[in-house]
Amino acid sequence: MASYLLRRVLATIPVMLLVALFIFLLLRLTPGDPATIIAGDFANERQIAEIRENLGLDKPIFSQFFVWLGNILQGDFGESFFYKKEVSELIAARLEPTLSLSLLTIVLTVAIAVPLGTLAAYKQGSWIDRGIMGFSVLGFSLPVFVIGYALIYVFSVQLGWLPVQGYQRIADGVGGWLYRLILPATALSVIFVAFIARMTRTSVLEVLGEDYVRTARAKGQTETRVLMRHALRNAAVPIVTVIGLSFAVLIGGVVVTESVFTIPGLGLLTVEAVLARDYPTIQAVILLFSFIYVLINLIIDVSYTLLDPRIRY
């Protein structure tokens, strides 16, 4: 187990290196010059060149890359071109909203989608199944910003129940935190509920066809317990896997949701940084997101051992 863990962790290193190189090259090949942007409308070429030198952008790309990589390995993500703040500081300030939104979304999703999917699987072919699947296909078919605006229009603008935008730190009160997050998290979870509910249904359906479910029925077990104890427990591995994989999709959703609800998270930071070509920030954020993705999937892989005793490393 320990050696497996070590191997898995080591295996993420080339992946992360690859991601780093990819992001770096992509950004450097992108048109748009931060020096010109920083200089402002009236700057002349000399001033722009000065700024470029100042930012180290005049060096060859690969030497820039290795300098950057070397700094990262020492935990230094550099300084934002614009804010003149350490990128790590910027990210730290933006981490909480994004984590809050993601976690709340996942909690909401699991709480809604797993029971729905299980129910649909159990009632396969019935109108309940069709209803749930219909909803899930529909949820799948709407861009998250459309859902977000619809929710804002109904719950904030028309009914005035919930705030339209903004974020409150959890330290300033869980109530306010939840109050401001509930709408964005709901908007974002619609898609994931659709997604996870489908997966749950498929997994549970598959498990329901297994012999041990028949065994459980042959024991005289009630249907609810057959579902909870035997079906869902065994369907957990694929469901958890999908939740892990969908994290990549979740990040995309977070970016959009944050910009719809003006939540000062990493997503918003990324969009702003990209539009301003703030290389150090973009690089660090994408690297961070990729790292979180890899980490989550690592955790999920390891969690298989808890969910399924057959899996041993």
Binding site: S3, L6, R7, L10, E210, D211, Y212, R214, T215, A216, R217, A218, K219, G220, Q221, T222, R229, H230, R233, N234, L307, D308, P309, R310
Partner: protein, 546 residues
Amino acid sequence: MDQKYVLEVSGLTVSLPKNADRPNAVEDISFTVAPGEIVCVVGESGSGKSVTASAVMGLLPDALRPTGGRTLLEGEDTLKAEKSRLRDLRGTRMAMIFQEPMTALNPVTRVGEQIAEMLEIHTSMTAAERRSRAIETMDAVHLPDPEKMVDAFPHQLSGGQRQRIMIAMALVLDPALLIADEPTTALDVTTQAQILKLIKEMQERRGTGVLFITHDFGVVAEIADRIVVMQHGRIVEYGDRDDVLRRPKAPYTQMLMASVPSMTPPERSAKTGETAVEVKALNKVYGKTGWLSKQRIVHAVKDVDLMLRKGETLGIVGESGSGKSTVARCIARLIDPTSGSISLHGTEIATISQAQLRPHRRKVQIVFQDPYRSLNPRRTIGQSLIEAPVNFGMPEAQALQMARDLMELVGLSGDALERYPHQFSGGQRQRICIARALAVEPEVLIADEAVSALDVSVQAQVLKLLDDIRVKYNLAMLFITHDLRVAAQICDRLIVMQKGVIVEHGPTRKVYQEPQHPYTRLLLDAAPGQGMTFGAEIAPAAAQGN
């Protein structure tokens, strides 16, 4: 209420969905099971025997509907029972064990809990009581060290142990009726013998009525008190064990019994053809120790030597995991041997590259176990048959003509080349696979469990065909099987393998009559239905040899 029988099935009819090939899965089924009695329902695939069992338990899939008759469990009709009543009956009055002990147990729950679940559902015992009762029952089915095993997960147990867990679970509440649906089919022959013994012991000790479903007449002969023979959803014969087995009335029963190969090998002359294949010190090791990895190493085949002559059938028998298929696949170079030599007509093929190997491919052909996966479902029979000859340079028209001839040789119509595999039965497909193997005029034919998946009547025909073509083409045939009855009838010589090692080899008759190794003796003793004489020799032609 008549309590003479634990189960009384009368006039049971279960209908099939509209577009099925017949209107009813079973039709007008009637039989009884008395307390302390084992009733065997025997029949080939599709005969409706499992449907009958499921109907009694109320576990039919939604598509199947009972449309007539009664299934009285101690006088209570389970077809008409409410769902909740059915649930109460299951486990307490009737219990069931299934074919696949691998999949019938929940893989993520400890076996003790799975037994205890039965108690949890139907009794008000405390958790501690349930646990000790589970251990008790595990002890009763002779599981070793139940105190420890109670906390094991299914995958940590062997197949036989799992089936014992299933039996313990089924019997923990002392049901009146035990339904066993092919409970030993997936097990090795030695394990099968133990499980059959256990079922018999349990039934005798507790006076349970047992409805035992099987396709294997050997098993029937071993344990049945009475026998129900089914064909196409109907009962064709029903009677006491000895009546049915010794004086079968129905032609179908007679045919089935005649198809079961005999355990007594016929006299065969030793073959003296030239050597086709010679294997020396063959080893196959799976897994490797890599950087940081702690993978287990499996020594699948260890120092195997064998020699096969033209015109000869060499059998390799052994239980699952004995390495017999690995040997076959190494010879066919479907996998690369780890070390050793395979000499094909003097050409060393164990270590040559794929490119060098290609011209030699045609010399070794293989017929696989599963007829449903051996043919590409997207290609017509003709396309599959001409693939190899065309690969080796035969013009397509000529290959097609040859394919037609081969189809007729294996007893199928030459016009069927345009059809797709799904339009053929399992036996027909296996014939097609044989025809395909013959298309390149091989020197060595490997039959890897080639008849194991077939019904017994079909199996007899395919065995006959294999033997005929061996003679006709003077083939060297390597016959891999776990079935001692089949091996007895078709092999000239026999190799017995256990855990990757050859433990015994010699002329078939000699091995059966004077087994040297204890494992061989164990295998032979475990074969069910020893007391009965079934069928006859499959291939009289074999006796003449050359």
